[in-house]
Amino acid sequence: MRRAEEVRRVEHIMGLPISLRIDDGDIDGDIEGDIDGHVNVAAADRVFAWLREVDARFSPFLADSEVSRLDRGELEPHELSPDLVEVLDLCEEYRVASGGAFQVRIPGRGLDPCAMVKGWAVQRAAELLRAEGVTTFCLNAGGDVVSAGRPWRVGVRHPERADQLCTVLEITDGAVATSARYERGDHILDGRTGRPATALLSMTVVASSLTEADATATAAFAMGAEGIDWAAAREGCEVFAVDAERRVFRTQGFPVAA
């Protein structure tokens, strides 16, 4: 067994700050790395390279991305990459599950799967780390978190006070995502009406994957007050929500830190 070094890195990709922290520790399994054990650095390089690739392929703001080309009708369904097909299938799954509130094709706007791409891509990045033999890490992409290997204390930002938390939870292997309006304004639209969702101040979901946590948080936020019950009823999801009256609702299984 070899030891691998600690990594602390922040990069800005897809307009998001992405913080990766890998603890030093034993390298899991028979993983190829250079002899000095720079396994974690190499794994971190791959994570950021993957996220830059995702941005180039799936950004609706880049004219030559696959998403933009699809939106302009330049690609036939059989020409789409398996990754984009997977993302669009997930979008459809959550659109149906949320009764249309989660919507990546709002009339009058172009195709914008960003709400799904971010969680999906960062979850994939976490799987890349595991495949590289990294056991203990915390990856935070603009407020969405995937962690592994030891208990990690995750604060949930207070919806009205940027320097405060409203709860602290603890997860070992899992994901946390929060949807709210305080950073980017009314950017989450209720797909059923096309209007900004304003009934909740903050919606945090814990799940086993960030794909699930992020999409469920976004869909529930778009649904409004009924989104709290909806998210709570989803299998494997734990919820911490703040409504417009500043009432807090959480599921019994929400992993509040001691």
């Binding site: 700050p17 603009g142 604060g155 009432r247």
Partner: protein
């Protein structure tokens, strides 16, 4: 009722092939006796619609049976013949704990919040944590 809907849809979906291809002989799952028909049966209900009662399906909340009215190949209405006694909505949604919003500061490894922009990052708690690490 929201949570009951998937059960209903599944039941209806399961019913259609039964109605089309074979009278059901499966009465073993039926736990109630006062049902109009335990095998799918059709009767003209006075209009052009065809009314079909589905077989009883056991769910963890209790037996469920629906009656479906078809207009040609399309379902025009669905009626519950049997449904669990307790409301699905209350049973299906985990109990939520209500409390008031509190502000706290604590030592944490990372912060979850609304998607932060690269511009907003400089002022954020996460930036402070990253700088300290």
């Amino acid at each position: 009722m929201k949570r009951a809907l998937p059960v209903l849809v599944l039941t209806v979906a399961g019913l259609i092939p039964v109605w089309r291809y074979a009278p059901s002989t499966d009465t073993s799952s039926s736990t109630e006796v006062a049902e109009p028909a335990s095998t799918p049966s059709s009767s003209s209900s006075g209009s052009s619609g065809q009314v079909v009662a589905g077989s009883t399906i056991k769910t963890e909340k209790g037996p469920v049976q629906v009656e479906v009215t078809f207009e040609g190949d399309k379902i025009s209405s669905v009626r519950m013949l049997q449904q669990p006694n307790h409301p699905q909505t209350k049973a299906a949604v985990p109990k939520l704990i209500a409390s008031t919003l509190e502000a706290q500061s604590a030592d944490v490894d990372t912060v979850s919040g609304a998607t932060i922009t690269s511009d907003g990052y400089k002022e954020s708690l996460q930036a402070a944590i990253d700088a300290k690490a």
